[in-house]
Amino acid sequence: MSDMMKIYDTVIIGGGPAGYTAALYAVRSGLSTLVLEKFSPGGQMTQTAQIDNYPGFHEGIDGFTLGYQMQAGAHRFGAETEQTEVLSADLTASPKRITTDAGEVYGKTVIIATGADHRHLGVAGESDLIGRGVGYCAACDGMLYRGKTVAVVGGGNTAAADALFLSRICAKVYLIHRRDSLRASRIYHEPLENTGNIQILWNATVETLHSEQKLTGVTLRQVKTGETVELPLDGLFISVGQAPNTKLFENQLALDKNGYIISGESTETNIPGVFAAGDVRTKALRQIITAASDGAVAAHMAEAYLSATEVPT
C-alpha cells in the first residue's frame, strides 16, 4: 500500500460480477477505481463449474474463468485490485474510509458488491463440525464421501442438484426438507424421485447434530407430528439458501429483515455516494447478469454523484 493517502474516485468492495462490471464502467468513464477482493475474482461464480445462462458463451463457461476474464477486462483499462479483506468501513466520512487487513483506503464513492454466502442451518455445533461431516459445497466435498451415507438439507434448486450429484458418488442420499413439496424447479422433481438411492424425507427439520470427533448422525423432528427420529450419517450438506455479506455495514446502511441492503434499480443506498450492486441488495432475481447490470448502473450513478458534488478547481 502506498504511504501517500491516495483517494480513489470509487472503491469497490467485492470482486464478483457486480464488482468487476462496476470497475469496468467506472474506469472507462475516467474514474480512478480500486477493487478490494479477499480471494481470487469471481465471487460465488467460482463455485460453478459450468455457467450456461450468461449470454455470449454459447457452450458455457466455468465460473472461475469468467471471474478472471471480468477482472482482466477491468484491469485492461486501469482498474486496480488489492487482495485484502475489509475489516470496517466509515461510509459517512469524507472521503469514505475503508480499513482492510493491509491498511486504509479512501474513496469519494463506495460501491458495495460483497455478494452473498451460504446460509447456516443454525443448529448447535454446526460451525464446529464444518469439515468434519458438515459441508455447504457438495461439488467440493462430495468425492470425499464415496460409498458413504449423506443427507442434503433444503428444498431449492441447489439442494436438488446437490442430491442428484451426490447420488452418483454416495451409497445413500437423504434429502431433508421441512415442507411437503420442493421449491426446486420442476425439471429436478422426476430425476429425484426416480433415483434409487435418493430418499426424500418430507416435513422434517434437523434438530440435533451428533458427533464423535466427526459427524455421526442427526436427530430429525417431524414438523407435523413433533416425533423425533435418529438418522445415522457420514455427511450432512446444508443447502438452505444464501445470506448477504452485509455484517460490516449493518450499523450504517438500511438493511431489510434478511440483511440485504435496501436499494432499487438505481443502486443508491441511504448514504449519499454509497451504492449497492449485485446479490447484496434487495432485488427480484439474483443472477450473474443482473449483478453485472447493477455494476454498470452503480458506476454510472457514482460518476453522476461525483459530477454533481465536485466543485471544479
Binding site: 463455485q47 463449474a49 487482495q83 493491509a102 468434519r132 467440493c140 470425499l144
Partner: protein, 102 residues
C-alpha cells in the same frame, strides 16, 4: 520459493522434516474455493521464503487425505518442526493465512 506438490512418498521429508513452518493445502482441481486461494498461496510462497507452501491433491493422494482426516477441501494445515499446529477448513484471506504461519 514456489509452491511444492507433495505425495505420500515424500510427505515426511518435505513437510515433517522441514526446518521452517509449512502450510499444507489439501485441494482438488475441481474445487472452487481451492482455486480461489491458489493465487494467494502462490503469492505467499513468492513473498515469504521463510515459509514453505505445500499442496496435496486429494484425488491423487487419498492416503494422505485420510491420514489427516480431510473431509472437506480446501483443508489447510500448519506444521512447525514436524508437529501439526493447526488445521482449518475453507478458504481464508492472505492475512489470516500469514497469521497462522507466524
Amino acid at each position: 520459493m514456489s509452491v511444492i506438490h507433495a505425495t505420500n512418498e515424500n510427505f515426511n521429508e518435505i513437510v515433517l522434516g522441514s526446518d521452517i513452518p509449512v502450510l499444507v493445502d489439501f485441494f482438488a482441481t475441481w474445487c472452487g474455493p481451492c482455486r480461489m486461494i491458489a493465487p494467494i498461496l502462490e503469492e505467499i510462497a513468492a513473498e515469504h521464503p521463510e515459509y514453505k507452501i505445500v499442496k496435496i491433491d486429494v484425488d491423487e493422494e487419498p492416503d494422505l487425505a485420510s491420514r489427516f482426516g480431510v473431509m472437506s477441501i480446501p483443508t489447510l494445515l500448519v506444521f512447525k518442526n514436524g508437529e501439526l499446529i493447526s488445521q482449518t477448513v475453507g478458504a481464508l484471506p492472505k492475512a489470516r493465512l500469514l497469521a497462522m504461519l507466524a
